[in-house]
């Protein structure tokens, strides 16, 4: 199976310039190779740095132990799940896995309606931003993937509704994008904050893409 490619742009943070990139509607072997060969070494370097600096728990990226090989293998052949990724300069910059059938909305105004749930979303460690890391290489990977989830929701007839459990370090980002912060989810093992997008806020995100 070969992925459909959508041309997109990322921002090279150092130069401030736009750079060509691709949004793919599948995660294939090359992405898993990139994850092993490129993401993990940088991740380990940053984990070293966090440990050396005795960084507080809040600074440790919560997704650092994820295994994308198993996440992708789990959904092979299933209609309800899809994976997408962003590639730039031939290296995978971010990956996302979604569930289009198994979850329902929780916000009162749309309770019980279908949505696209983001199972997992992670960007490559060299794109992380924070005091313990090198300056990020590219910005825009997360917003493109989030948009892809919303566009999938629209295509399915769910009017742009999406839901996700945010990493603690990411809550500001989702709030900026206009998702509703429903607070820590008591059903989540680690009480992660649950976010949901309403159709009204979808339009704001798609139309402006600017800080609220």
């Amino acid at each position: 199976m070969t992925a459909t490619v959508t041309p997109i742009f990322l921002k090279n943070v150092a130069s401030g310039q736009a750079i060509n990139a691709e949004l793919l509607d599948a995660v294939e072997q090359q992405q898993l190779i990139d994850w092993v060969m490129h993401w993990l070494p940088v991740r380990d370097k940053y984990l070293h740095a966090l440990k050396t600096a005795q960084a507080p728990a809040a600074a440790w990226p919560q997704s650092a132990h994820w295994n994308w090989v198993s996440k992708v293998v789990q959904i092979q052949g299933l209609l309800a799940h899809r994976a997408l990724c962003v590639v730039c300069e031939n290296v995978t910059q971010g990956m996302m896995r979604i569930d289009v059938a198994g979850k329902r909305c929780r916000i009162a105004s749309q309770k019980g309606l279908d949505l696209v749930y983001v199972d997992y979303l992670e960007i490559a460690p060299w794109n992380w931003e924070g005091p313990y890391f090198d300056p990020p290489r590219y910005r825009g990977v997360g917003t493109v993937l989030l948009r892809a989830a919303i566009e999938t929701s629209l295509a399915e007839g769910f009017k742009g509704r999406i839901g996700l459990h945010s990493l603690p370090q990411s809550t500001i980002f989702y709030e900026r994008c206009g998702l509703t912060n429903c607070g820590p989810d008591p059903a989540s093992q680690w009480k992660l904050p649950y976010f949901e997008m309403t159709p009204e806020n979808t339009q704001a995100f798609l139309g402006k893409g600017t800080r609220q």
Partner: protein, 69 residues
Amino acid sequence: MKKTMTLNLTDAEMQVLEELSAKKDLSKTALLRQALRLYQMVEVRLEKGDKLFFEDDKTKEKAEVMMLS
């Protein structure tokens, strides 16, 4: 690559389909797609040996085992 299928439903089935579509704010096609996806997910789990339960929300008792395979 989209494939087309014609589906014959009884009056009762069509009524249920229309009611569910209205309730879920989905087109009939979208609803049937969701049903297919869920059916496959259930099949895969059952094949693995998992069981599908309904849980009584108040008592938290696992009330019923669904045997779909």
